[in-house]
Symmetry: none
Subunit: 393 residues, 2 copies
DNA sequence: ATTTTCTGTGAATCTGCTC
DNA sequence: AGAGCAGATTCACAGAAAA
């Protein structure tokens, strides 16, 4: 079962439920904490002043990334990429961005309980600045976590590595914080009895989960997948905890919090986002308690490209490969390409080329000379694979 | 076969090679650049002053990040370090680390060529500070890359996620840098014809690759795997480039650089590391030259204007061109222009015009009728190119 | 009804040379 | 320095359309 299948199965199961709204504030709570399970509309720092200090268990923050994009970007098919060009993502300078970061971190710090913790997500444009600033302010980093995107946007111009991940920082309010929630056992059980690592694989938020506006276009440029919030909330909150999201957007944090029987508070400036978020959260029915286990993607065998055999030293550059009958020969190069005369390409391309075919499985076609005779390079791949899937003792 | 055995097998295989030491400085170079392929022993910043400015193509830096061992840090301002040691304070310590980071980044920046680039590796303890500082100094981040550890150390206390990755930052010296090396095509070919992503999977440096001291203990606490450096150097340097490692340690950068036919310069303070690194690098035999050539990017192939196909008689004036689906048609003219009705222009302009697009690659858009069916005119260009390269050297 | 093909799209700091 | 232009460049899905 794939990650996607898992996710639809989970969502279908959740929709069938008809349990009472566990996370709705009770009458007593409503009088005491009128901000509970609400979206506060307005500027993040001004609105946070309405909350009492030490009232929040967890903060999840998805601040503007300060992308600093240049001109338009077009795909190889000449279609235009719908970039993040919103006003809220534009800052005058690094200094302005740092001041903004400092302000919301301080506001958030005031409302956090001493045992509270903070999650921030960002990309290389902003995450280093945010991370340094939160260290400066006394937050204590517990982990950095990488969201590996299953289906990232490619680098269309071929000038960089595919930007295939975002970074999350998990930090306690204080260095000496006691009682920070981490549901270690539950996470481990949900992960085939293996500790959950700091690199998480999730697809982007697409398809029916992605909120659309009246025109059918995406409502928010950076809506996060619910699976990501699910993992965060099941890992680092308890049922009944209060989760604050100071950049609420379309309310993913609120929707997942409600589903998981946690309280939320959101702050959002844009009225259009707030309206959609309210409707979205209203439609959520909390899962019954026994259904609150996390979803874990199936661990699949890592794909091993030919280049990694060269990198790992299993095949030295300059090695000659042949086919099983030694009719064709090729030279391995340091970058993982094969050279046949003046031509070069991947093991698959060159395997196809020497045979005059459209396609070829290079792993089984090309062989290497060993002490025990000619062996397909696929046996080397198997060795790498076992090295890469080795479970720590 | 275990990972350890794999590594010995590889090292043995590489030692068997007996090619000339391609990366050793020639006599001329030795006089001109006496620091080439050397380890400079001493303080990083002081030693870097010995190198001329704009002399280095790439920097790989694995800086120390143990914030609490003041003595382990090489700081520009020694008096300040003493003060911190006596009255250790978190804020003071971050400040000291930032000053240290600033100093080595500036030193490195001076020796980098304008087209040069920098790699830094770190963990959540230091990487956010380093990333923010290098942005402050004018470096321009090209990617952040995650090294996913195949076999990380588990979190023994069960209080955190398994710390299973480290973060690398790849940055150009300047925002407007031109000519930064990125061997995109070669990377793609070595990765089964897929773009390489920003998350890389490698095992830790263990087994026979891991240098040991006389007691059999690991010599260096954070020796990096050679495969990681292999990836970095094949991706972002060319043969013959100069790679600087200001925190040389056990010389992984130097060993891989030599093997790949790149020059290195190392700076290291600890004599024990320097000795081991020298012996290690001396034992390295470079890969044969024919294994070091990379895939030729299309962008660097000789430019062949469409007109020369007409001149060479490969396409006669009056020939009709169409797109792959025969939706559009154009007429070849003697001067190498295309005519569509009353309009005419280059193959690119007219390709764009008939589709109503801003731009178009006419070489792949326009097709010509051949015996074997419709073929893109790019195949005709390829014939011209191979005719050009067939000229004896 | 089922399978195949086509089209659209996602937090992106995304060209390089000549005149 | 800025304009002009040749020409190089994409992966994993989802959903619609076609077969």
């Amino acid at each position: 079962m794939s990650v996607l299948e898992l996710r639809s199965a989970r969502r279908a199961a959740v929709r069938r439920l008809d349990a009472p709204v566990a996370s709705a504030a009770s009458p007593v709570e409503a009088a005491d904490r009128p901000w509970l399970d609400q979206i506060l509309v307005g500027d993040c720092i001004a609105q946070l002043e309405k909350l009492p200090r030490h009232s929040v268990d967890l903060v999840f923050a998805d601040p503007p990334y300060n992308l600093q994009l240049g001109g338009d970007l077009v795909r190889p098919d000449q279609s235009k990429v719908d970039a993040v060009d919103d006003d809220w993502d534009r800052f005058e300078s690094f200094e302005a961005y740092d001041a903004f970061t400092r302000a919301w971190l301080l506001a958030v710090r005031r409302v956090l309980k001493p045992s509270g913790a903070l999650w921030v997500i960002g990309s290389y444009h902003n995450i280093f600045r945010v991370g340094a600033k939160l260290q400066d302010l006394g937050f204590w980093i517990l982990n950095d976590v990488v969201w590996r995107k299953a289906n990232p946007m490619p680098n269309f111009k071929g000038k960089r590595f595919t930007n295939a991940h975002e970074t999350l920082i998990w930090a306690s309010r204080d260095r000496e914080a006691k009682g920070v929630t981490f549901n270690y056992e539950a996470l481990k059980v949900g992960n085939d009895d293996l500790q959950v690592r700091s690199d998480w694989l999730f697809p982007l938020c697409t398809g029916s989960e992605r909120l659309k506006n009246a025109d059918g276009d995406k409502l928010h440029p950076t809506q996060k997948p619910e699976a990501l919030l699910w993992r965060i909330l099941t890992a680092t909150t308890k049922p009944g905890d209060v989760v604050l999201d100071p950049f609420f957007g379309t309310g993913t944090t609120g929707a997942v919090a409600k589903r998981l029987g946690r309280h939320f508070v959101g702050v959002e400036r844009e009225h259009a986002y707030v309206e959609h978020a309210r409707a979205r959260i209203d439609a959520v029915r909390p899962a019954p308690e026994e259904g609150l286990a996390g979803v874990t993607p199936k661990r699949s065998e890592p794909r091993v490209p030919f280049g990694s055999l060269v990198e790992a030293g299993l095949i030295a550059p300059g090695t000659r490969l042949t086919d099983a009958r030694r009719r064709h020969a090729a030279l391995v190069r340091a970058d993982g390409s094969l050279a046949v005369g003046p031509e070069s390409g991947s093991i698959h391309r060159m395997g196809a080329a020497v045979q005059g075919l459209e396609a070829c499985n290079g792993w089984t076609f090309w062989h290497v000379e060993t002490e025990g005779g000619l062996a397909p390079i696929d046996v080397l791949r198997q060795r790498i694979r076992s090295a890469l899937t080795a479970v720590p003792a």
